[in-house]
Symmetry: C2
Subunit: 125 residues, 2 copies
DNA sequence: TTAACTGCAAAGTTTTTGCATCCCC
DNA sequence: GGGGATGCAAAAACTTTGCAGTTAA
């Protein structure tokens, strides 16, 4: 039962750039959007994908699936999402304090709750 | 302001086969799984996709996104989902009767609430 | 020095679309 | 008979992977 030795991680400007980009914007960008923002640096799209996956794995950011695409969220605390079906915007909203977990008895370990409200935002209405 | 004439819809055995397949199974199949189940009929994958999209549009079935793939759910009433991160199974669970919609004031029209619990099911634990 | 990291391109997935043919009404 | 429906293949959109050159430590 030996655990794998920790994999050495290097600090490269690409890693810092991807992390800072996601942490500094609150609009839940996709991998392509992060890459576009950083295009002046010459970073490759595959590198952006690799670092985003790493940030999710280490718990620094959270991946959110919406409309068939993966978006990245710098808010790692418990919260829900709201999405406008007209303009496509996605934003954070509070998670109801007491989310009744009734009827989930077939689940023995509950890890996460994903809640998204879909509708029309006041700007589009 | 003339409205578009209703598009004529034909009843073909392909349409019936796709609808019956989704309505008769409760395991939230993907388009590929529906196609596999119907492969003996010789139906094309594109036709399966076209009919599934039609069924969703007319409200007969519901599309559920999970783990980057689209699954189809014959249960169109309000309900939540539970997913096992170990075996990948996805099943229906009741939606909490009163889901507090606090903090969604930026949303002027609320159409849908998508709630998914992620964890380990009792069979995998 | 050297093993991890990077960029590029190729490959893999999932879903959509163009089009000639088919066949339901 | 005519126009919607189908099947096939090509394309599209998104993500992962292989590999040789690069670079942090």
């Amino acid at each position: 039962m030996c655990e794998d030795p920790p994999i050495a991680r290097r600090a490269t400007w690409q890693k810092v750039a991807v992390r800072d980009e996601v942490l500094n914007r609150h609009d839940h960008p996709t991998a392509a959007e992060v890459h576009t923002s950083l295009r002046s640096t010459g970073i490759g799209l595959a590198t952006v994908y690799r670092h985003l996956a790493g940030l999710v794995e280490e718990g620094t950011v959270r991946a959110v699936e919406h409309d068939g695409e993966t978006r990245y969220d710098c808010n790692t605390g418990p919260h829900a999402h709201a999405a406008c079906t007209r303009c496509g915007e996605l934003w954070d909203v509070p998670l109801p304090a007491t989310l009744a977990k009734n009827g989930v008895e077939r689940m023995s370990v509950l890890d996460e709750v994903h809640l998204t409200y879909a509708g029309v935002c006041s700007a589009c209405d």
